[in-house]
Amino acid sequence: MNITLKVWRQKNASEAGALVEYTVSGVVPEMSFLEMLDTLNEQLVAKGQDPVAFDSDCREGICGMCDLMIDGQAHGPDKGATTCQLHMRRYKDGAVVTVEPFRAKAFPVVKDLCVDRSAFDRIQQAGGFVSINTGNAVDGNAILIPHDKAEKAMDAAACIGCGACVAACPNASAMLFVAAKVSQYALLPQGQPEREKRVLAMRDAMDNEGFGHCTNEYECEAACPKEIKVSNIARLNREYLRATLVTE
């Protein structure tokens, strides 16, 4: 089948970009969306044109490298899936698809569809860890963790840091990302010693990066490829309020 793409082309961070139309031929339903873009790029290279830059790595939905806003939806129309897990059987022959980068002030465009998500790394640096040096650990079973708590922590820890929550949020808020990390540690005994310090520091880092506020639109949850729940955002709010009230 043939697919018409309107792809955001932007030379670099400082130049303005625009949508450019391409037709990709020879698309088959079993292809992934990224393989369709690979095909487009091979066709562009054959014509001596500059291929479209886009990020991807594992292509199995776990590394969080691929992004893309496809027809106005982060990671495309499927729920609980990343762009690399989207297949062309979702589209009909002759479909017109608009592909844009994730947009946020905190995610500046690097080139075409690639954005800089290092803001997430910096938030993590502010407090997204347990301060335990190698070699300091006690036996893994020394501290018991109830099954359900561990499962809940795992639900939050499943975040792949792709940034879809930010991309989908009308306010470009990073609350779901931060909430997932804060929740994981808040739920586990290992996270307790730095519980207040962590949430205050990560909130601060998040705001400093220029992300928006959470207005509980829940588009983040709908877009999250790992289906991380907004109940984590409630926990983050709670943790932040608690930390503000109890810290000296």
């Binding site: 947009r103 905190a106 909130r203 928006g212 959470c214 949850e221 709010n237």
Partner: protein, 239 residues
Amino acid sequence: MEAKANSASKCSCRVFEFLESSIGKKIMVAAAGLLLCGFLITHLLGNLLMFVGGDAFNKYAEALEHNPLLPIAEIGLVALFVVHIILAYRATYLNRAARPEGYQVYKGKGARTPGSRTMAITGTLVLAFVIIHVATFKYDVGGFKGMAGEEGLFAHVLGWFANPWYAAFYVLAVGGVGLHLSHGVQSAIQTFGLNHPRYTPLIKKAGLAFAGLIFLGFASFPVYFGFIKNCMSCAGGAH
């Protein structure tokens, strides 16, 4: 001495930091919003006396006006509005700034509701309404209206409702309140950090029901006293 000053400045600094933080701001907006909901309930209950009769309503209004605590309550109310509005506008401004270049196509995955999409618009509409509402009903801007056979505030209110434009605007505005609350109530509760798989669906439903009741309750006044009653008396006159 110095230590005291330090801790005071540290304290005020902490308050400022909280208000300027994305989460703190939302918590304050949510808290003020929920308290304003409390005000809406008492206001609605008072207004419902209009259906009991002009006398009952006027007496309630007078009692309220002569209550020495009223100015304090009014200051509190204004403060709630100011906090709610300023912080909400500030958040909205920062949210716009968080995505300087918008999407060419933005569709989302269906989580947004009509209420959530329009919070800034309905909020602004309600603000405009509150100003006009207070100006006309409390400070008699636009003159004192009367209604044959009625007295006091009740006559004034009925006089305004007799103006179909005013009545329609009133309905529209309380519609805005309803829409605002349809998102606002459950949103505020989420912002306080209350979310539970068992209760959150109930809270969402209760929020919607509350929004609907507030809308129906307030809309009933202009609809009944402005349109239905007038039409009935028109129809009666013709008879």
